[in-house]
Structures are given as structure tokens and as C-alpha cells.
């Protein structure tokens, strides 16, 4: 049988690292082919080569049996190859329609013909139930929707080989369900899909075959139905992985952090994003904020850390009122923050790894004297963290953050925040985009942090992470806390009901009772 895509003996080298070392990938027509590998294994690189973003140093690419040269994404488009990138490539102040036609604008007498495109987008959106408004601005729509825009972009261009680079990392469980359905539908129509994901259950659910990379090398391809998740994980990291989290029962001490009566209005002042939020976090406890995305979790974290201003409500850390402290002083007082959006807040992509690892501490006496940076200590610090957290990259501390793989960027942020030993570590989706091995490690680190008598406030959309890791769960729905639960006395189903707003244990706050 003929393959739609064959990538044979692909080698691609970056300064200091062979991202792909003699890799082979063969994709059948009409299959969902998963690509699995640790962070930095070279998955995105391989797909970028297929999409014409990088040129391979060696190797051959065949599409439908013919050898091709893919020099740029336009060539890829012409060959029917489309890609949804790990970090989306959308122009934020353009509308959905403008983004979709970008690069193949149809014109009439030199003027843009947008109407036809809008029609086509509407039709496609209906056909696949993507629920996209072509005239909405990208900056106004959710991440999940942005992703559907990227998918629509490929459909609009009639691509029949679709590459998804970690599409589910940023989606809610519900959105993931929908995406899986869409993908099934697409292959039923005869399209072929290459899916990169770290979530083995997703591979189990939708993929037909799975190819595994490890440290740039091709390990093998398996039929998904013949292997277990454990076997796939072992293929990928080369050792057995423990999927359940081993932890001792929590031993909570006194309250270390509390939020009192926090309210936050939306920028247009029309509705409450946060309604009368109060809770405590104790020493030695992992408190998890569960909820469907968009129910106020992001705002809660941004308000606590000071990234957005709020009018009413107080924060206490170690019995000290930190409400009005600026971000620097909150950091110094003992707050750590693994942010939701690693590219926006977490990293300065044009700084190298070492520079990124000191972003909150560069002014400390260990790292500077009299205003001059102590480079030796800075690079030593970086090397320590790189070893401890196994951050992989081409040039170690000197690697530009931009050129690091997504998962390793995330590891760098986590390393930096845990290393500062904050009394309260706020971790938002900390394992987003990490491979199973790294997740196992990060979970252990979070528990270690807890066991050293500190507190963790974990915001997660993943139910298994919530159930596995937390010592106590609060559920947010429409900006309110609707439940305060003990993970041992609840289950994923019940949690789901609270998250969907159909059940609650706490009293509802009436509008009039809030004084903002």
C-alpha cells in the first residue's frame, strides 16, 4: 500500500543538538497517526520540516509516493499539507476571516474579496460544528476557539494531510472531546492526520498507529490497539512510568495564605468575574482550584499575583496583609507563580535560559554586586537547575528560550519557581505540554514542596491531575466558589457536576450583598 506521507532518514541539526537523527515516518492514507516522544525529542521539528519551515540536512520526503521538495509553507499548502502549530500563529488584531485567508487573499480589481471567504468559512464552520464567527477578532476569542480557527484555516485550504502539534494541551476536557470527534470525521472523509500529543489516553482513543521518537532518534511504530498505555510510555522514555501519584496523606498546619471577600468586575463593569471569593490555604497542603476554563480561575490568580488590579478583597500571607503590595514585593514576601501563558508572562523568549531563570532574583546579592550582574553565579545557578530538572536544549544555559521545545520551556519556568521556595506556590496548569516522564517528576516536586511545609495553590483543568494531586478541592463556577471538597470523598463525576454548575454546596451570593 502507498503511504500519503513518507519521511525517510530525516536528519536536522541545530547548534549543539541533533533534533532529528535519521528519523523515518510513514503515514497511511485515512489514518490518524500519533507522534509520541519526550519533551525535546524532535516532534515539532520533524513536523516543521514536513510543513516547509525548516529544511532537513539529510533525508527524503515523499507525498503520495512522489519525492518532493518542501521549501516553504506555501509549497506545503500546495501539496495539501496543513498544520496547527503548538503555539498558534494568528494575527490578534485581525478578524477570524482575515486570518484564514491570510496568505491566499483573493482580490478583484485589487480589492480584497472577503465576502465569499466569509461565506465559505460559515459553511465549513457549520459542517464541522466549529461554531466560529468569521467576523470576531482573534483577541476576543478563547484559546479553544482560536484553535478551531487554525483547524478551519486548513479546511479552507482544502488540505488533506493535517498536522496537529499538541492541539489538546490548551483545551478543556469538553473541547478535547469535540476535537476528537472532528478528527474522526475528517479521516472518515479520507483525510490523513498526524497528531502530536503527550496524552496517551488520547492516542488510545483516536489514533490508529503511533510512531515514537526518543532524543531525536526513531524508536519504532506500533499499532495502537496492540499496545497498552504503559507500553507506549516505556517506549517513549525507556523506563517504566508510574501513572498514579504516590503521596503521603497531607499534614496541614496553620493557615499560610488567605483570600477574603475578593470581588472583581469585568472591564466593561457589566458583570462580576469574581464574586465574593474567600478561602484559606494551609501549610503542607495542595489546594486545587477546579473548574471549566473561563469561570474565573485565571482572574483569581492574576488578582492574587497583582497582574490585574482589583478593588475589593484582601490577601494575607503569613498573617501579613499583602493586598496592596506590588508584584515585586509579593514575590519577595513568598509568592511563586507558574503562569498560565508561558509565552506571554512566563518567559522572555529572546533571553537565554540562564537569563530567564533569574528574572525575579537578578537583584539579589548572590546574583549581583553594586548593580553589576555576576555572570559566573548566574550560569552556575542555571546549570544547577538544568541538571536538577532535566531541562533539555541545544546549548544549555546559553540556549535562547525561543528555540527551546515547548515542554522544556515549561520545565524551565517550573524549575525557576520551585527553586525560589515560595511559601505559596501558585501553579496554573503546571504540566501543560509536558511528557509523562516530566509530569511524574513535576508532580513529585509539587508534593515535595508541600511536604517541606509550604503550600501549593494548583489551578488545573485536568480532572485526573486534580484528583491525584490535591488535598482539598474548591470548584469555581461563573466566578464563584461552588464547592469545597475532600478528594477522598468525591469522584470525577461529582466534580463534573459541580464544575458544570448543576450542583453546589456553598451559599449563593446575591448581587446586592457585594459592595464594590
Amino acid at each position: 500500500m502507498e503511504y500519503v506521507i513518507e519521511m525517510l532518514n530525516i536528519t536536522k541539526e541545530f547548534p549543539g543538538i541533533k533534533a532529528n537523527d535519521n528519523v523515518t515516518l510513514q503515514v497511511n492514507k485515512g489514518e490518524i497517526h500519533a507522534l509520541l516522544g519526550e519533551n525535546g525529542a524532535g516532534k515539532s521539528t520533524l513536523m516543521s520540516i514536513l510543513f516547509g519551515l525548516y529544511q532537513p540536512d539529510k533525508g527524503v520526503i515523499k507525498v503520495n509516493g512522489n519525492e518532493v521538495q518542501i521549501k516553504n509553507p506555501n509549497d506545503a499548502n500546495d501539496l495539501g499539507i496543513g498544520m496547527v502549530h503548538q503555539h498558534f500563529k494568528l494575527v490578534h488584531n485581525f478578524t477570524v476571516a482575515e486570518n484564514i485567508i491570510l496568505g491566499r487573499e483573493e482580490t478583484e480589481k485589487g480589492l480584497l474579496k472577503l465576502n465569499e471567504a466569509v461565506e465559505k468559512i460559515k459553511n465549513l464552520s457549520e459542517k464541522y460544528q466549529l461554531r466560529i464567527d468569521p467576523n470576531a477578532y482573534i483577541s476576543d476569542i478563547s484559546v479553544g476557539m482560536q484553535q478551531r480557527v487554525e483547524i478551519l484555516k486548513m479546511l479552507f485550504r482544502d488540505s488533506d494531510i493535517l498536522i496537529f502539534d499538541e492541539p489538546t494541551a490548551v483545551l478543556t476536557p469538553q473541547e478535547i472531546e469535540e476535537l476528537m470527534k472532528i478528527m474522526k470525521e475528517l479521516v472518515n472523509e479520507g483525510k490523513s492526520i498526524i497528531l502530536i500529543t503527550h496524552k496517551l489516553n488520547e492516542i488510545k482513543k483516536v489514533a490508529d498507529r503511533c510512531s515514537v521518537l526518543r532524543k531525536g532518534k526513531y524508536i519504532g511504530t506500533v499499532d495502537v490497539k496492540d499496545v497498552s498505555m504503559e507500553q507506549m510510555a516505556e517506549m517513549m522514555v525507556g523506563r517504566k512510568i508510574n501513572f498514579t501519584v504516590d503521596k503521603e496523606k497531607a499534614n496541614p498546619g496553620k493557615v499560610i495564605f488567605s483570600v477574603k471577600n475578593l470581588n472583581l468586575l469585568s472591564p466593561d463593569l457589566n458583570r462580576f468575574l469574581l464574586k465574593d471569593i474567600s478561602f484559606d490555604v494551609k501549610k503542607g497542603e495542595i489546594l486545587c482550584v477546579a473548574g471549566i476554563e473561563g469561570n474565573g480561575q485565571s482572574e483569581l490568580v492574576k488578582a492574587i499575583t497583582g497582574l490585574i488590579p482589583h478593588k475589593s478583597g484582601k490577601f494575607y500571607l503569613n498573617d501579613q496583609d499583602i493586598t496592596d503590595k506590588n508584584i515585586r514585593n509579593k514575590t519577595l514576601a513568598g509568592i511563586g507563580h507558574i503562569p498560565e501563558d508561558r509565552h506571554k508572562y512566563g518567559l522572555v523568549l529572546d533571553y537565554n535560559l540562564a537569563e530567564n531563570l533569574i528574572i525575579q532574583t537578578y537583584f539579589s546579592d548572590e546574583l549581583q554586586s553594586k548593580g553589576f550582574l555576576k555572570f559566573r553565579s548566574i550560569y552556575k545557578h542555571a546549570k544547577d537547575l538544568i541538571n536538577r530538572f532535566d531541562i533539555r536544549s541545544g546549548k544549555g544555559p546559553y540556549t535562547k528560550a525561543r528555540s527551546m521545545s515547548g515542554g522544556n520551556q515549561q520545565k524551565a519556568i517550573i524549575a525557576r519557581e520551585i527553586d525560589r521556595e515560595p511559601d505559596l506556590l501558585i501553579a496554573v496548569q503546571p504540566t501543560r505540554g509536558l511528557d509523562v516522564g516530566a509530569i511524574e517528576y513535576i508532580h513529585k516536586e509539587l508534593i515535595k514542596h508541600r511536604d517541606s511545609g509550604k503550600a501549593v495553590l494548583l489551578v488545573s483543568l485536568e480532572l485526573d491531575e486534580v484528583m491525584n494531586l490535591s488535598d482539598r478541592i474548591i470548584v469555581m463556577y461563573e466566578g464563584e466558589i461552588v464547592a469545597d471538597l475532600d478528594p477522598d470523598k468525591t469522584n470525577e463525576n461529582e466534580l463534573g457536576l459541580y464544575m458544570a454548575g448543576s450542583k453546589r454546596t456553598t451559599v449563593r451570593v446575591k448581587r446586592g450583598e457585594i459592595d464594590e
Binding site: 515585586r328 508572562y345 522572555v348 528574572i359 537583584f363 548593580g371
Partner: protein, 371 residues
């Protein structure tokens, strides 16, 4: 495994590729200038072109002139480059320069009571005036998110009209329609350079430029302050997240950038050659020249220094070339095309990378790769 390396370049880093691309742009720009010269006057074009390239090293006097021309544009290049490194596009060096120049000349004319320290005070105040002028777009950017490109251009026009007005009001020499001459104590001393290069040539301002280059380099590369400024320039949100006061950083960046442009104003006008601020409503070219200098110098202080010298060099070359009947505008064409070519840097980059790879492949196939 030892990677095979080319002896000339060693391992190819982004930095090296950028530097090479800059040289390519210069080379291509010069070539383009030559073509224009051949088209306009084929007979003497090569001689004239030769003069551009080698004329200025013909004598100490010319070398002095090269350095003299370079001094202010090194400073404005540094101003633009520094702002750029910290994420700001300061198009307003011209306005900051002219405001600085006015303050320098005003003090140079009026504050004769200062005695021998008059030039120092005049120079410093020129810098402060430029800093003040740049701080306004800085504040607007930091607090109101006003685009600094627009704001600095506006400040240019306000600056030039304000200065013409103030010159007429205070230190006007009506017969010549320009400002009065500065007092002899206000002229920046030559620190011995006069003995080497002769009078009316490079002066102490050149040392000032060198000091500025060193200080800016140190700030950007070695200090926590520079670390903050660059972080804000690269990613304002992440800087905020890290607790860096991004508003303050933006304003300080503009202030330093404006200070450098203001210094350039002092360096141009505090000379003994009788240079005065003309009442003409034209923005000084040295301000705008800072943009190509910063571009060619890749916004790196050391790069800016050499780019400034280069620009001074071909200006002097253009001056000498006039005797073959060519207009000095040729030089403007060359500079302009260098800028266009440096905008095409990406193409050069790919070209360089490919050439490098080919060589490497050959080397590998020859079997040098026994690491």
C-alpha cells in the same frame, strides 16, 4: 564527536551571521553607488569611486574630518540603538538633538560667568534637555500606551519650531539669520587632537562619544539595570510578571536615549568653527543619520561606533570625490541603499548559511571529520 569547523568563522552563531550580513549590505550598497556613478559619468567613475574608498586615509587632515563627521552620528546612532535594544523606536533623535543644541548654544553664549567650565555645563545641560524632550514620549508610552514612533515624530516638529522661536527671542544674530557664536570657553577643547589633525577638525567630542559607547555597552551588557531595560523591551508582560517596574523602565530608556541625542547637539555646535543654529525650520540631518548607523551597527554599542566611523568615512570620501565632478548626493544614495540592503538581511543570512553548509559538506566528504 568533534564538529568540523571552518577556520575563518569557527562555529556559526547568530551574532556572526548578523555581522556578516551587515558587511554584505555595505558591500552591496557601495556596489550600487558605483553602478549609479558609471551610469552618470562612466569615464571618471572608477577614479571617483576609488577616492571614496581610499581618499579619506590619504592624510591626517582627512582622517580628522572623518572622526569629526562621525562624532555626532555615533552619539545619535547610540541613542537610536539603545532605545531599540530596549524595545523602543526613537525616531525623535533629531528633535532631542536640536533642543539639546539650543540649550548648549544658549549657555555657550550667555553663561560666560562660568569661566573654563562653561563647555562642561553646556554639554551636560544639552544632554539633560534632550533627555527631557525624550521623556515626554516615554511617559506617554508608559502610562497611555501612545506609540512612541508617532510621539517622537511630533516632538521633532515641536522641537524645531520651538528652537527657531527661542533662538530669535534670545540669542539671535539678525544679520546672519542664525544664533550668536558661542563663547570661547564654551568650545569643547580638543585635548591635543588639534596638534595631530589640525584646527577645525575632530575635537574632544570624539572622546565623549567613545566614553558614551563604553558606558552604554556596560549598562546594557553588565548591569542589572540593563537587564531590566532589555527584559521590558523584549517582553513587557513577562517583565511585569517578574515584578520589574515596566513603566519606569520605558521612561528611563527614553531619557537615556534622549540624553545621548542631546549630547550630539552639544558636540555639533560647541565648536570653534563658527557653527551656529540657523533659523531654517529644518531638522538636523545628524539626528536621522542615527537610524542607519544603529541599523548597520545592529544596535550594539561597539557596532554603532564602527558604523558611525564608516558613515563619517564615506561622507569625507564623498567630499573628496567632488573634484571629479560628482555630487555628494551619491553618498546619500549609497547610505540609503545600504539601509535597503540591510533590510534584505534575511536573504543574505540564508546565503551565508548555505555557503557555510556547502563548505562544511565538502569538508566532511573529504574526510576531515574524524572526531
Amino acid at each position: 564527536m568533534n564538529k568540523p569547523k571552518l577556520i575563518l568563522f569557527g562555529e556559526l552563531t547568530d551574532k556572526k551571521v548578523n555581522v556578516m550580513s551587515s558587511f554584505f549590505a555595505i558591500f552591496a550598497g557601495l556596489l550600487f553607488g558605483l553602478i549609479i556613478m558609471i551610469i552618470t559619468n562612466a569615464n571618471e567613475s572608477f577614479q571617483a569611486f576609488f577616492t571614496i574608498l581610499f581618499g579619506p586615509i590619504g592624510g591626517l587632515k582627512s582622517i580628522g574630518k572623518v572622526l569629526f563627521y562621525s562624532t555626532p552620528i555615533i552619539l545619535t546612532g547610540l541613542s537610536v540603538g539603545f532605545a531599540f535594544k530596549t524595545g523602543l523606536f526613537n525616531i525623535g533623535a533629531s528633535g532631542q538633538l536640536i533642543v539639546g543644541a539650543f540649550v548648549a548654544v544658549y549657555i555657550g553664549v550667555r553663561w560666560t560667568f562660568l569661566g573654563p567650565s562653561q563647555w562642561i555645563v553646556a554639554t551636560l545641560c544639552a544632554g539633560l534637555a534632550g533627555a527631557f524632550w525624550a521623556s515626554i514620549p516615554g511617559i506617554l508610552k508608559a502610562y497611555r500606551n501612545v506609540n512612541e514612533v508617532v510621539a517622537t515624530i511630533m516632538m521633532n516638529y515641536i522641537g524645531i519650531y520651538l528652537v527657531t522661536y527661542l533662538v530669535k527671542l534670545t540669542i539671535y544674530q539678525s544679520g546672519r539669520n542664525e544664533s550668536q557664536r558661542v563663547n570661547i570657553d564654551a568650545v569643547i577643547p580638543s585635548f591635543g587632537l588639534e596638534n595631530i589633525f589640525g584646527p577645525r577638525s575632530v575635537n574632544g567630542g570624539f572622546f565623549l562619544a567613545i566614553i558614551a559607547v563604553i558606558i552604554i555597552y556596560i549598562i546594557l551588557e553588565k548591569t542589572t539595570f540593563g537587564y531590566e531595560l532589555k527584559a521590558v523591551g523584549f517582553n513587557r508582560d513577562a517583565s511585569k510578571y517578574a515584578g520589574i517596574n515596566e513603566k519606569r523602565s520605558i521612561i528611563l530608556s527614553m531619557i537615556i536615549s534622549g540624553f545621548l541625542a542631546g549630547l550630539a547637539g552639544a558636540v555639533i555646535y560647541l565648536v570653534g568653527t563658527g557653527k551656529a543654529i540657523e533659523v531654517k525650520d529644518i531638522l538636523p540631518a545628524e539626528g536621522f543619520d542615527g537610524i542607519p548607523v544603529a541599523l548597520i551597527g545592529l544596535s550594539n554599542p561597539i557596532g554603532v561606533f564602527f558604523a558611525g566611523i564608516f558613515m563619517g568615512y564615506i561622507r569625507e570620501g564623498g567630499f573628496l570625490m567632488q573634484r571629479f565632478g560628482f555630487k555628494t548626493e551619491i553618498i546619500d544614495i549609497i547610505i540609503a541603499s545600504i539601509i535597503y540592503f540591510s533590510a534584505l538581511v534575511i536573504i543574505f543570512k540564508e546565503f551565508i548559511l548555505k555557503a557555510y553548509k556547502n563548505k562544511l559538506d565538502k569538508k566532511i566528504s573529504r574526510g576531515d571529520n574524524n572526531g
